[in-house]
């Protein structure tokens, strides 16, 4: 049972435009969400997170939006740069899951076209 879903395995965006990566979850007990970026043959790096008490969190070019009623979150990258080409994972957790375990989606490969 995939509790965190990233339905788009890949996305291509022109350099300078906005990249929007989407993530859906099914478990209403999740109350903390994170985005990670992963280059090939490297470990994922933490990008940005959001708590369920907020609907938006912004950090530089990265903004995460959370729609709790739809159980949906998105990551906006603007403007997109070539270095943003990577696989992006969303992850979710909550205080009821114990020991800060994260449930990851399957990832979306973002390609920025120069």
């Amino acid at each position: 049972d995939q509790q965190v879903k990233q339905n788009s395995p890949s996305l291509s965006v022109q350099e300078g435009r906005i990249s929007i990566l989407n993530c859906d979850y099914t478990n209403s007990m999740f109350d903390y969400f994170l985005w990670y970026k992963k280059y090939p043959a490297e470990g994922p790096t933490f990008l940005i997170s959001i708590s369920s008490i907020k609907d938006k969190n912004e950090d530089g070019r990265f903004t995460v939006f959370l729609n709790k009623s739809a159980k949906h979150l998105s990551l906006h990258i603007v403007p997109s740069q070539p270095g943003d080409s990577a696989v992006y994972f969303c992850a979710a957790s909550g205080k009821d899951f114990g020991n800060e375990k994260l449930t990851f989606g399957t990832g979306t490969r973002l390609t920025i076209i120069p």
Binding site: L34, E42, T45, F46, S93, N99, L102, F104, T106
Partner: protein, 112 residues
């Protein structure tokens, strides 16, 4: 600052051979430690996590085991590797009470 190390970076092992992957964390005390596997074209699957020395929880029954002999050391082992054990293995740590996990560089394991 905190640093996480994993070795080896790559490993090619025959079926039936043993495995030992090591992960160490520097710059923090009493971290939560995690082992993940990323199979080709798949997401991150949590294999084991540990909240303290000698405390290991297994998420997925399989051919692997984990141990935490020291506070900042986490080891992933197998007595006999299977072809299906091939993948990219990642170690991660988090602070107590923190949601963010920080990953090591990973080990690419190929079982032949």
């Amino acid at each position: 600052s905190q640093t996480i190390h994993q070795w080896p970076a790559t490993l090619v092992q025959p079926v039936g051979s043993p495995l030992s992957l090591e992960c160490t964390v520097e710059g923090t005390s009493n971290p939560n430690l995690y082992w993940y596997r990323q199979a080709a074209g798949r997401g991150l699957q949590l294999l084991f996590y540990s909240v303290g020395i000698g405390q290991i929880s297994s998420e997925v029954p399989q051919n692997l085991s984990a141990s935490r002999p020291q506070d900042r050391q986490f080891i992933l082992s197998s007595k006999k590797l299977l072809l299906s054990d091939s993948g990219f293995y990642l170690c991660a740590w988090s602070g107590t009470g923190g949601w963010e996990q920080y990953f090591g560089p990973g080990t690419r394991l190929t079982v032949t």
